[in-house]
């Protein structure tokens, strides 16, 4: 598994220079996000909205991918999306703060809370970390439900971001956000930090023994993840113009985790492919109404049965086959 990840990380010719390597990775994604999607769906607000959802959800999933990279199954992203959503909601409705300032504030608060909670929690591993983060999602919902001053209710009439009046504009913003997130996570994964993360995932004790400050790196990864969740929550709060304690529940947190699995944990592109795949599949399955959710479940099982390492693992498989055929 490490081999395949390293293969992706180190695939670009060794000394090609940072800039061209970045371009090589970013360009195809940018072409799809800025070219293909807007051209296909320009006049269709419905599909633009679906793509916006896909982009913002992908952004949050990228964060979850980062915690997977340090070997933790994180089912708390819904909690941080909720937190970020409330930060944006409170700042913009109570103090009239602009969306463009609310968003970084959401990121900051989510990161701080993530770091504070993550510092002790990240000592847990495996199933325990998974389950405790799942509990955290529930705890966050209950905390907002019982928070004095919020009255258990939601916050309504959150202003829409200035300058993003049309579905296309909001989509383009979401696409830019996603691209920036991708660049960030890709940069982390291919840098020395990425190498540290991988060594931590494989063997934390060993990483510790060679002098890596494991605890600090863990918290950094988790805080970045949380910040990305907070930003996504802030975006959705102003897109939907409301936030409720029930806006993000355990099933949202599980979905973020699933997107990563489905796309493939060994690839930075994995969460993006997984998110868009599942979001679009769900919309296409609308044509069968009552069986929509049923087929969604079956689809997930089928993917797992035949591509247990994610949809992207199909491509190296194909490349290998074709490569062999050619030689």
């Amino acid at each position: 598994m490490a081999a395949s990840l390293d293969a992706i990380a180190g695939r670009a010719p060794e000394r090609m220079g940072g800039v061209s390597r970045v371009l090589l990775t970013l360009l195809p994604l940018a072409a799809v996000l800025y070219g293909l999607i807007p051209v296909l769906f320009a006049g269709q607000p419905y599909w633009l909205n679906v793509m916006t959802n896909g982009a913002v959800l992908s952004f949050a999933s990228l964060g979850v991918w980062l915690t997977f990279a340090i070997g933790r199954v994180n089912i708390a992203q819904g909690a941080f999306a909720l937190l970020g959503g409330y930060v944006t909601a409170l700042l913009s409705t109570l103090y009239g703060v602009s969306f463009w300032l609310c968003l970084p504030a959401s990121a900051l608060v989510a990161a701080l809370v993530g770091a504070a909670i993550g510092w002790p929690l990240l000592r847990l591993r495996g199933i325990y970390f998974a389950m405790v983060t799942l509990s955290l999602t529930e705890a966050m919902r209950l905390a907002f439900l019982n928070a004095p001053g919020l009255g258990g209710g939601g916050i309504l009439n959150i202003p829409r971001p200035a300058g993003l009046d049309t579905p296309l504009a909001f989509y383009l913003f979401a696409a830019t956000l996603l691209l920036a997130g991708y660049l960030l996570v890709w940069r982390l994964a291919t840098s020395r930090i990425g190498w540290v993360f991988r060594s931590m995932r494989q063997n934390e004790e060993l990483a510790l023994s060679i002098g890596i400050d494991v605890a600090r790196y863990r918290v950094v990864a988790f805080a970045i993840c949380s910040a990305m969740g907070g930003v996504a929550g802030g975006c959705f709060a102003s897109l939907q113009q409301n936030i409720y304690p029930a806006s993000y529940t355990v099933s949202d947190s599980i979905n973020f985790m699933l997107y990563c699995f489905l796309g493939g944990l060994d690839f930075v592109l994995g969460p993006i492919v997984g998110t868009f795949g599942l979001v679009i599949a769900f919309e296409l399955l609308r044509s069968i109404q009552e069986y929509q959710a049923l087929l969604y479940g079956i689809l997930m099982i089928v993917v797992m049965l035949f591509l247990p390492n994610g949809v992207i693992s199909l491509f190296p498989l194909l490349v290998r086959r074709f490569g062999r055929g050619a030689s």
Binding site: L57, G152, Y244, A246, S287
Partner: protein, 402 residues
């Protein structure tokens, strides 16, 4: 794609072209004109029944009119098509679903969604795309200016409580009252509103702090407290049809002798199955249709609903109103209202029709001025029922002041 699916539900509507794709906004068929009405709501997951009842009600009404050759608006008969979208109670999916209905499908009128969370998420889309929607959610801001595209499809809990408690005080001598609420936004808000009403009426509130998680499986621990205080009336704030009968059974098993009240609609079949012998003495807001007050038209609707859904749901007695009044208002506003909501909005204030669902002669209008400052609510009759011998009986009939 939505068309294809809807037809699979509308069995017997005939095999029609399935070739509607994502990009084609609508199909125009040769002879008859179609009127497409949307329905957006939660139809899977724990709250599935809320949206499904909306869907089945709309389908039943549509079938009834289509069998008569369509609904006549401005001299032309329109076949009614219901386009359903499941939002899974997820605001993200509600937003894209609303875009789908009002954008891609170019539908101007839709029924739903079902909760405050989803309904408030729909508002910006509906206003941007000029659509009228009929939520089953109580958030006041949806119906109060500057908002003017939402029409509340049912009676809000805060409209029921004053009348219900007053009647209980006068008719049953209720003096002490206790509240138990579902621990979510709706439940806590309904409880707080209920407590205010009880205070105004001078009832003694013995407890208002008990709550339970929506995911609860056993009400024994929750109800023990309240029952030990022995109030005359226990109010089950925002209790789901799944939960109210369990709470009643547990309270009775713990020796509770008083009455129950709930400002939300309940389901008699579930009450009989779950509470059984303990099912008596629940005062709740009925589905606007007890056997004593039904018209033959309502009987017909019930038969059709049962055919569509498999079994009758009392909630449909309320949800039957939305499509019926929507169509009648369109007819009153004229054919141009089909593609433009401005004439529809103008017609709301003066609109009045004979209530087709009630045996007695009465008028069906839009109401809500008292609570929202404008007529943005369907004037569904407020039928307060009491469970007795395994059936809903009429306890009191009232209405929301216009």
């Amino acid at each position: 794609m939505v068309n294809a699916s809807r037809r699979s539900v509308l069995k017997g509507a005939g095999a029609l072209a399935l070739a509607t794709t994502l990009s084609t906004p609508s199909i125009v068929r040769a002879q008859e004109k179609a009127l497409r009405i949307g329905q957006l709501g939660v139809m899977s997951g724990p709250e599935a029944s809320w949206g499904l009842v909306n869907k089945y009600s709309a389908l039943a009404t549509a079938e009834m009119w289509n069998d008569k050759g369509g609904y006549e608006i401005g001299g032309t008969k329109y076949k009614i098509e219901i386009v359903s979208v499941d939002d899974r109670n997820d605001p993200k999916l509600t937003v894209s679903g609303a875009e789908r209905l009002t954008g891609s499908e170019n539908i101007r009128y839709f029924i739903g969604p079902n909760t405050d969370t989803t309904a408030t998420s729909v508002r910006p889309i509906a206003e941007k795309n000029n659509a009228i929607y009929f939520p089953y959610a109580f958030a006041r801001s949806l119906y109060t200016k500057p908002a003017e595209n939402a029409i509340l499809g049912m009676i809000a809990s805060y409209q029921v409580a004053p009348i219900m408690y007053q009647q209980l005080k006068e008719q049953r001598g209720v003096k002490t009252i206790g509240f138990v609420a579902r621990n979510d936004s709706d439940g806590l808000l309904q409880r707080d509103e209920g407590v205010k009403v009880a205070q105004t009426l001078g009832l003694e509130i013995v407890s208002s702090s008990d709550t339970y998680e929506p995911t609860i499986t056993d009400f024994f621990p929750v109800m023990s407290n309240l029952v030990s205080l022995a109030p005359d009336l226990i109010v089950l704030s925002s209790a789901a049809p799944a939960h109210a009968p369990q709470m009643m059974r547990v309270a009775r098993e713990l020796g509770f002798q008083g009455l129950f009240a709930c400002e939300a609609a309940q389901d008699i079949k579930i009450i009989n199955e779950v509470a059984g012998e303990y099912g008596d003495g629940l005062i709740s807001i009925g589905g606007a249709s007890t056997p004593e007050i039904r018209s033959p038209y309502m009987e017909e609707f019930i038969a059709r609903y049962t055919k569509v859904a498999g079994e009758w749901n009392d909630e449909a007695g309320t949800k039957a109103y939305a499509l019926e009044i929507l169509l009648a208002t369109l007819a009153a506003a004229g054919p141009e209202a089909i593609d433009d909501i401005a004439p529809f909005k103008a017609a709301i204030d003066g609109f009045s029709m004979k209530n087709p669902f009630l045996k007695e002669e009465s008028q069906l209008t839009y109401v809500g001025t008292g609570d929202f400052g404008q007529k943005r609510q369907i004037g569904v009759p407020m039928v307060i029922t009491e469970t007795k011998g395994g059936a809903f009986t009429t306890f009191a009939i009232s209405s929301v002041a216009s």
